[in-house]
């Protein structure tokens, strides 16, 4: 076997170990199953369960759950079950987009700071300390007033606010890897910094990165719901679970329970699912490290 193949096989081993540990844990099974079910519900659901979510129909408003509308209708006549699917698309898309953008931004920033070291690292870290010292909601409230809310500005704002944690983690990981023998060996063999980053640092830090990316989906869906509650969420015609929940809350004590509990339940189930998956990835990462 050529040396390169041996090398690859050895590198794949911890990944396979991690995957096996992941597949064994019940948190992973429940989390992943729930995420798949939610994605199917939101994206495939509207193909099977067709509802009118475009035009207002006041004849159908405020209907209690029944045979034609399993979860009733809201104050403009939209079918709540169909609305949940549509709103879920925004919530999930936003969660995933923010998670990916956050991870990329944080990884690059953290890796650069960790590799550069010295004064550059110190300055880059003070920037993070500064932004972390302002609570995210405070920053977001200021920024929402600057940029008019739309799906993309909210994605951008949530990303700008949530990459800090990832950047810190990746920097710590890079700094601890920098002193390891195999990195020193690669350096003595004349590998360039970018090669060391790409072939040694990132693959070794990938576990930490995936863990924070998974939690980041949950965090951004949670953050979006808080923004919606404060009236600063996605503007119409977009809807998300937080907005549905918030508008339902006005009438909770008037008996319109179907406008409140379904969006609340699906919102919490989603956050629980991603958090369970995140916990499972972290545990399987520990399984790799223990070996």
């Amino acid at each position: 076997m050529p040396v390169a193949d041996l090398d690859l096989a050895a590198e794949r081993e911890p990944g396979r170990l991690m995957l096996a540990a992941f597949a064994r844990s019940w948190q992973a099974r429940i989390g992943v199953a729930a995420i798949i079910a939610l994605a199917l519900f939101c994206f495939a659901g509207p193909l099977l369960y067709r509802t009118n979510q475009v035009t207002v129909n006041l004849d159908l408003k405020d209907l209690a759950p029944g045979s034609s509308h399993p979860l009733g209708t809201d104050d403009t006549g939209y079918d709540v079950l169909g609305r949940l699917m549509l709103a879920g698309q925004s919530s999930l898309e936003l969660g995933f987009t923010v998670a990916i953008a956050t991870t990329v931004l944080g990884t690059v920033y953290g890796a650069v700071a960790g590799i550069a070291g010295g004064i550059i690292d110190a300055v880059m870290m003070r920037v993070i300390d500064t932004l972390l010292a302002i609570p995210w909601l405070v920053l977001l409230l200021i920024m929402v007033n600057i940029f008019p809310p739309s799906l993309w500005t909210i994605i951008a704002l949530l990303t700008v606010l949530s990459w800090l944690g990832v950047a810190r983690l990746v920097r710590g990981e890079v700094i601890s890897l920098r002193a390891r023998e195999f990195v020193l060996a690669a350096r003595t063999m004349g590998a360039t910094t970018s090669r060391i980053l790409a072939t040694h640092m990132i693959p070794n830090a990938i576990g930490v990165i995936i863990v924070s990316a998974t939690f980041s989906v949950a965090d951004s869906i949670l953050a979006l719901s808080t923004l919606s509650f404060l009236g600063l969420g996605l503007p119409p015609p977009h809807s998300d679970w937080g907005t549905m929940l918030t508008s339902g809350l006005d009438d909770l004590f008037n008996g319109y329970w179907w406008l409140v509990y379904p969006p609340a339940a699906i919102l919490i189930v989603t956050i629980v699912a991603f958090s369970l998956a995140g916990d499972a990835v972290r545990d399987s990462l520990d399984a790799r490290l223990r070996r």
Partner: protein
């Protein structure tokens, strides 16, 4: 230790100045003129010019920043555009209410989550551990506003145990005199914090329980209750001290939501209104206060860590 502290204090000052600069730049990015949003859309250009001159808004941005920093260094936070009151006076009125809200809920959360975490660690894998774990995990995944609304529904609307709105009194004393109104805001923030603290306490206690010195303590014949309170609790407290010190920004976010739900007249609500009315001095002042509190919180967490654990020595490099 003192060298380390000096270095950390230096970093803290840099961070606080950074917070001021970031907020300053951000709020001045807002399009449209402040004068118009305060004086109304039909304000004449003369009135706008007077407003801008009075608040120094006709100066270049860097000049405004420098004069703001100088002003803050003299202990003057400026005058609210919207409420026409000194910002420091507004804060003096609001801050004690937040100290009450955050202080009471943090103390309550610790009183609940410390024993809960230790109990879960001792009986780990058991039914109670799993039930409590699942409960705090679910709580952790809930938006703070949802917890607040559910508490109102259960404890104020269905059973009239507590009131759905925060006490209206001006002083902390008069708020304390209305425990039924104060209960739900405090309880909401308590639950938000218990969900975080108890997970840390549980895993910290599990780590302590696995250590060798506990076998010696047991062999000595110490009763289990004393082992837990004197040895396990003390050692497991260390990571929790850090978490409490670092949890402040998250707590402030929770406080904004809770104050909005219960109409609790604290800093969070003041900030929220200032953000919608573009009341710059109040916005700048509140981020400054929160920034300072966060930095001091993490500094205190480090110092507390060293005081509680003599094994920890900070390098004064």
């Amino acid at each position: 230790m003192s060298g380390y502290l000096a270095r950390r204090a230096g970093q803290a000052i840099v961070v606080v100045i950074g917070v001021m600069i970031v907020t300053f730049i951000l709020i001045h990015l807002e399009p449209g003129s402040v004068a118009r949003s305060i004086l109304g859309i039909r304000a004449t250009s003369d009135r706008i010019a007077i407003f801008n001159a009075a608040y120094g808004l006709n100066q270049p941005l860097y000049r405004q920043l420098i004069s703001y920093v100088v002003q803050v260094a003299h202990g003057n936070l400026g005058t609210s555009y919207y409420l026409q009151q000194p910002v420091s006076g507004l804060f003096a009125q609001r801050l004690p209410r937040d100290l009450l809200l955050l202080g009471a809920s943090t103390v309550l959360a610790l009183l609940i989550s410390l024993p809960m975490g230790i109990y879960q660690a001792v009986r780990r894998g058991g039914l109670t551990d799993n039930v409590l774990g699942a409960a705090s995990f679910t709580l952790y995944c809930m938006p703070a506003f949802w917890i607040a609304v559910m508490l109102v529904a259960l404890l104020a609307v269905q059973s009239h145990v507590f009131l759905p709105e925060a006490p209206a009194g001006a002083s902390v004393g008069s708020m304390l005199a209305q425990p039924r109104a104060l209960a739900l805001p405090v309880l909401t923030l308590t639950l938000v914090q218990v969900s975080g603290f108890s997970r840390y306490m549980r895993s910290a206690a599990i780590d302590v329980l696995a250590q060798d010195f506990l076998r010696v303590v047991r062999a000595k014949g110490l009763p289990e209750r004393l082992i837990l309170s004197r040895h396990v609790l003390r050692n497991a407290l260390l990571p929790v001290v850090t978490i409490v010190g670092l949890s402040l920004p998250g707590l402030v976010t929770g406080a904004i939501v809770v104050e909005e739900v219960f109409n609790y007249q604290g800093m969070g609500l003041l900030f929220f209104d200032a953000a919608t009315h573009r009341d710059f001095p109040v916005l700048l002042g509140s981020t400054l206060i929160v920034g300072v509190a966060t930095v001091v919180g993490s500094l205190l967490a480090d110092i507390g860590y060293a005081l509680l654990d003599p094994r920890i020595r900070y390098a004064s490099r």
